[in-house]
């Protein structure tokens, strides 16, 4: 018993305070991925059935909805080409590199870590696909998190809502820089050290600021939901709602932010 206690204490210490177990943790993902695959089977079955057993009316309705959505996006895209060109010109004027275009890779979610304390998900991409630790993960609406362990064909993603995670953000309206920290709930993030004189309003969009060189700048992170001024406290308590659908995603996008831009642009 005493031996086990010592071994456990050493293991816990190594795990928390040193990076020595990182290699073993990366290896372990390959072993645990099958367990999550098995528990995912009912969901796969459900999606498969939904795809096969859709009524014709529903398909037509879906098709129409998608067409109209496509039209809206295409209209926006027309403007985007113009804006991108303008942006490039302005950046050339400023002599700064164009880093908007980044290569992305689509990954499927294969499981969610069951522990309510930690917010981690597993995806079906790994070292074989060129993933690296610290790689940003986004979905259609905003930032999801970063890759923390890379296995051979699977990896673990730490969500921005995990209470051990914080991300440098800025208010899109005025560029004020802040830190958004996870609070252990997928529905809210907290902002750290917000002075009571800061110009922040409910509904403000927070985007990643690119500081800390993990997340690329400009991805939407959260919307400010609630601001509580308490005169007895040094800082304002600000609650923000993540833009990304942290608990609903099936597919996520991996952004290759470390690569040089303009080698491979777009999706």
């Amino acid at each position: 018993m005493a031996v086990l206690f010592v071994v456990s204490a050493i293991l816990i210490g190594l795990f928390i305070f040193t990076p020595h177990l990182q290699g073993a943790r990366n290896q372990a993902i390959s072993f645990i991925a099958p367990v999550y695959e098995v528990t995912n089977f009912p969901r796969h079955l459900k999606t498969w059935l939904q795809m096969r057993l859709m009524s014709r009316d529903d398909l037509i309705k879906d098709n129409e909805a998608l067409r109209s959505e496509l039209l809206v996006h295409q209209r926006k895209l027309q403007q985007l080409a113009f804006l991108t060109a303008e942006n490039t010109r302005l950046r050339q004027l400023l002599n700064s590199a164009d880093n908007i275009n980044q290569r992305v890779l689509v990954a499927d979610l294969i499981g969610v870590a069951p522990d309510p304390r930690s917010h981690k998900v597993f995806i079906n991409r790994g070292e074989e696909d060129g993933l690296y630790i610290g790689q940003p993960v986004v979905d259609a609406t905003g930032l999801i998190g970063q890759v923390v362990n890379v296995g051979r064909a699977n990896s673990t993603v730490l969500l921005i809502s995990d209470s051990s995670h914080a991300i440098p953000v800025q208010i899109n309206r005025n560029g004020e820089r802040l830190i958004a920290q996870g609070r252990g709930s997928v529905y809210e993030l907290g902002l750290r050290h917000v002075p009571s004189t800061l110009d922040i309003r409910e509904g403000d969009l927070l985007v990643s600021s690119g500081l800390g060189s993990i997340y690329p700048a400009g991805y939407p992170v959260a919307t400010v939901q609630n601001i509580t001024h308490d005169p007895g406290r040094p800082f304002v308590d600000v609650v923000a709602v993540p833009k990304a659908q942290l608990n609903r995603n099936r597919h996520v996008l991996l952004v290759f932010a470390q690569e040089l831009p303009s080698i491979e642009g777009g999706l």
């Binding site: 795990f15 367990v35 969610v112």
Partner: protein, 160 residues
């Protein structure tokens, strides 16, 4: 040899099933209500199969659990080994209790396990609200009678 594999096969199958139940996707609102199946199994085996099951087994199970749920490695291992140790010291007394009294014991044992695991996660920088300790403990102890009813007749498979 075949018999040995068969017996251990039962042990492995139960462990694997418990792990599957642990990682079964649940909506985040209900994740707190998930019973700690592996802790229950450890308590059950320590009480009803003390000659087959030991602290090292419990430690190994805990380590597998830690790895599968990507928690801090060694946290569940240590917690499970500790409660297995208590159960092995007191298995004769625990066996003679009624189900209700056993549930109370299980509540305390799972509570010890939860407090330890949450303390280690606290070291790793996680913020842990109190209900995250109490709710799983309560649900787990309520599941104890079900586990006893299901597993008690199957003891002989492992004992041989």
């Amino acid at each position: 040899m075949a018999l040995l594999v068969g017996r251990n096969g039962w042990f492995i199958a139960c462990t694997f099933l418990a792990l599957l139940l642990h990682v079964m996707p649940l909506p985040s609102h209900y994740a707190l209500l998930r019973p700690e199946f592996l802790v229950l199994l450890c308590v059950f085996w320590s009480v009803y199969s003390p000659y087959r099951f030991g602290v090292v087994y419990a430690w190994g199970l805990g380590l597998i659990y830690d790895i599968v749920v990507t928690g801090v490695w060694g946290a569940h291992a240590m917690g499970l080994a500790f409660i297995a140790y208590i159960c092995l010291c007191a298995y004769q007394r625990l066996r003679s209790y009624q189900l209700g009294q056993q549930m109370l014991w299980v509540f305390i044992l799972v509570g010890i396990h939860q407090v330890f695991v949450n303390w280690v996660h606290g070291l790793a920088g996680y913020h842990i609200p109190l209900e995250m300790i109490i709710l799983p403990t309560l649900v787990t102890s309520l599941c104890w009678p079900i586990l006893v009813v299901i597993l008690k007749p199957s003891r002989m498979v492992w004992h041989g």
